[in-house]
C-alpha cells in the first residue's frame, strides 16, 4: 500500500466506525414544555366521586362518537378512538390547482393527477382520559390525544400528538357539563 493510501485508510476507518455508534434520541426525556402541556391537558374537579367522573367521561366520549377501546376503573383509565374525515378544502384546492397547472403547462402531456392521491382523506383519533383522586377529595383528569392521517391512496401522511389548547378546552367544557349532569343524576 502506498503512503497516501495508508493515510486515507487511517482517515476513513475511524470515520466508518464513528458512524456505527449511533446515539438514540431522548425518547423518554420530558420536553421543556411538559409543565405547559400538563396545564393544557389536565383539570381538577372538586368534591366529586371518581366513579362519577369516569361515567361522565365515557358518556362524553359516546356523545362525540368515540368507541371505548379500554376501561380500567381501578386505575381510572378510559381509552377511546374514532375514524373521522380529514379532508382539508384548502389543501384539496391547492393540490388540484397544481395538477391543473402542470397539465396546462405541459400541453396536456403530464395530466397524471398524481397530486390528488396525496390529499388527506381520513384520520384515526385516539385519546386517553385518566382520573386521579387527590387527598383533598377532588379528582384530577388528564387527557392525551393522538391522530394518524391517511391520504386518498391509504398511505400514512401524518401522525402526531394533539397540542392545540382549544381542542382540550372544548373537551373539558363538555366533560365539566357531563360531570354536573352525572352528579345530578341526569
Amino acid at each position: 500500500m502506498r503512503k497516501p493510501d495508508v493515510l486515507l485508510a487511517l482517515l476513513v476507518i475511524p470515520g466508518m466506525l464513528a458512524s456505527c455508534t449511533t446515539t438514540q434520541p431522548d425518547y423518554f426525556s420530558p420536553s421543556q414544555s411538559s409543565v405547559t402541556a400538563r396545564k393544557m391537558q389536565a383539570r381538577v374537579y372538586p368534591s366529586v366521586d371518581e366513579s362519577d367522573v369516569m361515567s361522565a367521561a365515557a358518556a362524553v366520549l359516546q356523545d362525540m362518537g368515540y368507541s371505548i377501546d379500554e376501561v380500567e376503573a381501578r386505575l381510572g383509565v378510559i381509552s377511546a378512538s374514532k375514524r373521522a374525515d380529514a379532508t382539508n378544502r384548502l389543501q384539496a384546492f391547492g393540490t388540484l390547482t397544481l395538477d391543473s397547472m402542470k397539465c396546462a403547462l405541459t400541453f396536456l402531456m403530464a395530466c397524471s393527477g398524481n397530486h390528488y392521491g396525496v390529499i388527506d382523506d381520513v384520520q384515526d383519533i385516539r385519546l386517553t382520559m385518566v382520573s386521579m383522586p387527590q387527598s383533598d377529595g377532588s379528582v384530577a383528569v388528564r387527557i392525551t390525544i393522538q391522530r394518524r392521517i391517511y391520504d386518498k391512496r391509504g398511505r400514512l401522511s401524518e401522525q402526531s400528538t394533539i397540542s392545540d389548547a382549544a381542542v382540550y378546552d372544548m373537551l373539558f367544557a363538555k366533560l365539566s357539563k357531563a360531570v354536573f349532569l352525572e352528579e345530578q343524576g341526569i
Binding site: 426525556s29 400538563r38 383509565v77 386521579m132 388528564r142
Partner: protein
Amino acid sequence: MSRRLLTLIPLLALAACASNNAAITASDSQVHVRQMQTRVYDSLDKLDTLRSVLATLQDLGFVIDTADYEMATITATKLQDYQLRVTVTVKDRNYNQLAVRANARIDDQIIDDPATYQDFFTVLDKAIFLTRHDVD
C-alpha cells in the same frame, strides 16, 4: 432451468424462513435485558405505583392502549415522526419492594439502549415522589 439452480431454491426459501423466525424470539441475554429494563422501589403500594406510571406516560405524551390492575400491566403508544410503544409491568419483590419493568419499541426496532430506560425511570422516580406526597 438447471438442476443445480432447482436444488438451490428450497435452500434459499429455508434461509428466508430462518431469518424471519429469528425476530420472533430475541437473541439478547435475558438477564441483561431484565436488568436494563427494571427498577426496584421500596414500596408495596401497587395502585399508587401504577397510577404514577400512568402519570409518567401522560407526561411523556403517550396514549394508553391497555391498562389492567390485576395483572399490573400498562401498554401505551406515542406518535411523533416515529411510533414509540412501551409496556410497563409492576411486580411484588422481596416482601417489601416492587419491581417496575418497562420494555419499549420504536417502530420495528427494540430499544436496547440502557440510557433510554434510565431516562424513563428518572421521570417515573419524580412521579412516584409526587404521588406519595400528593402533589399535582
